[in-house]
């Protein structure tokens, strides 16, 4: 049988982290009471007009720069029309003709054969980033034959990041999305928490034989975590291969991932191809951005966005942070990945290193093996850790000063984990875990043990 080449592209919607929505002043907040964050514009009251939120534009520029894109100094807004209960205006304002950023790239890393010691770097091209409105939420209540509409989310700013079909499997897609997530969180342009709907990923999947044109692609939606992203893509690739090998055809359709069954199913309400009747948004002039060269002399700087100014203030991206950690602390590259992969773990590590004489190369073991496994076992985040970096540092200092053995240290850690507020030193004293250095004392204890044995 001829080999199959799977092709995976991604469309990612990241909710912009901002105080107010993309075109109106109502607040952005997760899980607020239904319809409590809806301005007149969000509700599409007739006569209301969109006003562009500066912070959202800055977030998109930052993200574009971090992804090595060209920032379009002039970009345009368009209306995309369709009727749905969660779209009050009957159209979404988006950037279809000329988006804010184009032609970038994202580098991500994969472990070969699940061995973290063997990492390979891959790149996926970023086709574009566009600003657009989020829709509201509709909940179908079939028992009462009604649809409940919550417009809190309607109008929240989104960055749609389009990744070219340069990926070949679920693992690659997951790694790329994970890296994007870290970048967005580092920039602060999006909190990118998938569980809260701040990062939504749709996958475009097709298969073909090498040398032949690309196959028909399907779009897979309704993926709620990075883990499910990999699963959904791999399932879909398999499904398509099996279908084609059995002489079937692939329909250009949208499918939903069913996480319970672990498979993709055709989506009912997306029938046929929609004509969105794109039209320029007449109420918004073209978005003009400047750089140091093009900035007019007497321009009110409140009114303009300077791309170079934003570029200068970008924080260290995850890839740079990792390099710095390796360089500064002498840890392995794969350690740096794990450190950055857990929210707050890198900061925790650095905090411990600061407070202990133990070498970072040794500290890292305690962080990645002991602390992290405890956290995972109890499904806790670093922030929720009952053992603070201060406590761990104290403990590691006792070990470093040889006041306890490493076995004892693990025992103390287990005790600290209960979170009863005791310090490592207190636990050591309580459980008499001190390493005895005194020769005479040791002899006495040994003698006592031998005497005890003889009496039996």
């Amino acid at each position: 049988l001829a080999p199959w080449v799977p092709v995976v592209g991604l469309e990612i919607h990241a909710q912009i982290s901002s105080n107010s929505k993309l075109f109106s002043g109502s607040q952005v907040q997760f899980a607020a009471p239904p319809n409590s964050l809806v301005s007149f514009f969000d509700a599409s009251l007739p006569g209301t007009l969109p006003v562009l939120n500066r912070r959202c534009v800055e977030a998109a520029v930052m993200t574009g720069l971090a992804l090595n894109c060209s920032i379009n100094k002039k970009s345009l807004f368009d209306r995309k029309h369709y009727f749905y209960a969660d779209l009050p205006a009957g159209y979404q304002i988006t950037q279809q003709r000329v988006p804010i950023a184009v032609n970038g790239s994202l580098s991500y890393n994969l472990c070969i054969d699940n061995k973290m010691s063997q990492m390979v770097t891959k790149t996926v091209r970023i086709k574009q980033i566009q600003l657009e409105q989020d829709s509201g939420k509709s909940l179908h209540d079939d028992t009462r034959s009604q649809t409940l509409v919550d417009l809190n989310r309607a109008g929240v700013g989104l960055m749609e990041v389009v990744m070219e079909p340069d990926m070949c499997c679920g693992e690659e897609a997951a790694a790329a999305v994970r890296e994007l997530q870290l970048i967005l969180q580092t920039l602060g342009s999006s909190q990118a928490v998938m569980a809260e709907g701040q990062l939504r990923v749709d996958a475009n999947v097709s298969v073909h034989h090498p040398g032949e044109p690309y196959g028909v692609r399907t779009e897979v939606k309704n993926i709620n975590s990075i883990r499910f992203l990999a699963k959904a893509i791999d399932y879909e690739i398999q499904r398509q291969i099996e279908e084609l090998e059995n002489g079937g055809t692939i329909l250009n359709e949208t499918r939903a991932f069913d996480s319970k069954l672990g498979c993709t199913v055709p989506m009912r309400d997306k029938e046929g191809k929609q004509d969105y009747r794109f039209m320029p948004e007449p109420n918004l002039p073209p978005l003009i951005l400047y750089d140091a060269k093009s900035l007019p002399a007497n321009m009110n700087h409140q009114q303009v966005i300077n791309i170079d100014w934003i570029h200068e203030r970008l924080p260290d991206l995850p890839s740079v942070k990792r390099e710095k950690l390796v360089e500064q602390y002498g840890i392995l590259p794969e350690h740096s990945f794990t450190l950055l992969n857990e929210d707050g773990l890198a900061e925790f590590f650095e905090s411990v290193v600061k407070r202990t004489q133990m070498k970072p190369k040794k500290v890292i073991g305690w962080i990645l093996k002991d602390l992290l496994s405890y956290l995972k076992q109890h499904s806790l985040t670093v922030k929720e850790s009952p053992v603070s970096s201060f406590l761990l540092a104290d403990l590691l200092n006792l070990l470093e000063k040889k006041e306890i053995s490493s076995t004892a240290a693990k025992q103390v850690l287990a005790e600290l984990w209960k979170g009863e507020g005791k310090t490592p030193l207190e636990i050591v004293k309580e459980q008499k875990l001190e390493l005895l250095q005194d020769q005479k004392e040791l002899e006495q204890i040994c003698q006592a043990v031998i005497d005890g044995q003889e009496n039996e």
Partner: protein, 525 residues
């Protein structure tokens, strides 16, 4: 004769205490009641108006009026949002809709102490050129009941009477034009997308100003075509229009299409010397169907300028005859988009048919919109289809650019202001007007006004003379972008020359003869 005074005159009278805001308000409300047959108003906000008048009176008593608009009764077209007062757009879709906010222009008027008498009638969603296609019925032109018209009208048969002989106001801001024309208010807001302020102004013998696009905020004006709509100003003289313009123009952060530059309200100069002016006469505006009467009037007006020393030149705007078709494509496309929000879900009419979201949407929109609106939505959606977009929408945008460039070239050649007719003829009798459908009428009637909307230019109708039938005929001046001062100065000069007669209305005489009879009666001086 307070009701027939100009805004400036009555403002002075209020300041001097010769009349009080409440008296003025009460008279206007009484006259509105007596002229109910005109059907100019959809909603009369009697209680709130009287309250506003009282508050104004307090301010005058304290010697602290807010400005020249304090206490002045005004009316607003029913497609502007007014908080707490029904906004219907003369459509079943918004019957009973009470907006929670004021349009910026409405807020500005209220902030300056103006008294909002009510919301005026229009064609449904401002689509039309007759003010005949709204759910509250057609508006009647006050001139139908004027002495001037009645003297000239010869009944075609003995059974024909006043009732069936009345003429239309033009549209779509017919209610506002009728309100100003019949003296029930001193100024009114209209809207202008293809001529909807200037057309009824011409037919009702009042001044109708279309400002430059981007000068006055559209926030709160329920849109027809976002890229062409402007709030329009209707008054009885050019000077009053300048006062209104001064209080409404300027950047609005809520409307991203308003210009950022500071607007400086100007004092309208009284031109005496027009010898430095260059008046352009675009030959393409000698359109098919232009009545001989209006052609002659246009010519006479050109001579007026020439004899006063101005340079009068024939110019060409070669793409004029494409503007109707171009407008049709762009207008319907934007309409289709703007009307998409009316689904019955958040506000407005909602159908009882609730089997599914789709069926509810479809039924709501069928029940809520009239045929004119639905027709434009269907056309617009057709033009926006992917396969048609380049052929129609993009092509029309390109033609629009050509039309706008025609004006740029002409103004660059040294012409200051263009002089054209506003309408093809005087107002048609209603029975005649409705013989053709809305689309046909709009295509015919918009031809002289609509290119100014394409190009975003300011334009004004000034009443010029009475036709043979005793009905008003107006002429139009089109100016350069943001040069309202020059445009209005020229218009004011012309107004002074023609001395357009005051409408002789029985009802007005009755309400306006009063204690203040010894005051000088108003005229266009």
């Amino acid at each position: 004769a307070m009701l027939r005074a100009s805004l400036r005159q009555v403002s002075a009278a209020l300041k001097e205490g010769r009349v009080t805001p409440t008296e003025l308000c009460q008279r206007c409300l009484a006259l509105i009641k007596s002229t109910k047959f005109l059907n100019a108003y959809i909603t009369v906000a009697e209680e709130t108006a009287l309250k506003q008048a009282e508050e104004s009176e307090e301010r005058y008593k304290r010697g602290q009026p807010l400005g020249s608009l304090d206490g002045i009764p005004i009316a607003v077209k029913d497609n502007f949002n007014t908080a707490g007062i029904e906004t219907t757009c003369a459509s079943n879709m918004l019957k009973g809709y009470i907006s929670p906010y004021n349009a910026t222009v409405v807020q500005k008027l209220l902030d300056q102490g103006a008294v909002l008498l009510g919301k005026t009638n229009l064609d449904e969603f401002a689509m039309g050129s007759g003010s005949t296609d709204g759910v509250f019925g057609p508006v009647r032109n006050p001139w139908s009941y004027s002495k001037q018209y009645k003297e000239k009208s010869v009944p075609k048969c003995p059974s024909e009477d006043e009732e069936s002989n009345w003429v239309i106001t033009g549209g779509s801001s017919g209610g506002s034009a009728a309100a100003v024309s019949s003296f029930t208010c001193f100024a009114a807001l209209g809207s202008d997308t293809g001529g909807s302020t200037r057309n009824p102004a011409a037919h009702c013998g009042v001044v109708g100003l279309k400002p430059t696009y981007g000068l006055i905020s559209r926030h709160g004006l329920i849109p027809l075509v976002n890229s062409m709509d402007v709030p329009g100003i209707l008054t009885r003289c050019v000077d009053d229009a300048a006062i209104l313009l001064g209080s409404l123009a300027g950047h609005d952060p809520k409307d991203s299409t308003t210009i950022q530059d500071d607007f400086k309200p100007f004092e309208l100069p009284d031109l005496t010397d027009v010898s430095k002016l260059s008046i352009g006469i675009p030959k393409e505006y000698h359109a098919p169907g232009l009545s001989n009467e209006i052609l002659a009037l246009w010519s006479k007006a050109a001579d007026l300028f020439k004899n006063a020393g101005a340079k009068v030149v024939e110019v060409s705007l070669p793409h004029t005859h494409y503007s109707i078709v171009c407008y049709h494509v762009l207008c319907t496309a934007e309409v289709a988009s703007n009307m998409a929000r009316f689904d019955g879900l958040e506000y407005g009419h909602r159908s009882d048919l609730k089997d599914s979201t789709e069926s509810m949407y479809a039924a709501t929109r069928r029940e809520g919109f009239n045929d004119v609106v639905r027709g434009r939505i269907l056309s617009g959606n057709y033009f926006l289809l992917k396969q048609n977009y380049e052929k129609y929408f993009v092509k029309a945008q390109k033609v629009r650019r050509l039309i706008a460039n025609d004006f740029v070239k002409v103004f660059r050649s040294g012409v200051d202001v263009l002089l054209t007719p506003t309408t093809l003829s005087d107002a048609a009798p209603y029975m005649e007007f409705i013989q053709e459908d809305n689309r046909t009428r709009s295509a015919q009637d918009d031809i002289l006004t609509q290119a100014a909307n394409m190009a975003g230019l300011p334009a004004i109708n000034v009443p010029a003379a009475l036709s043979e039938r005793g009905l008003p005929v107006g002429l139009q001046f089109i100016g350069r972008s943001f040069q309202e001062k020059q445009l209005l100065a020229v218009a004011k000069w012309f107004e002074k020359q023609v001395q357009f007669p005051v409408i002789q209305l029985e009802e007005v005489k009755r309400h306006d003869s009063d204690v203040f009879q010894h005051q000088k009666s108003a005229s266009f001086s």
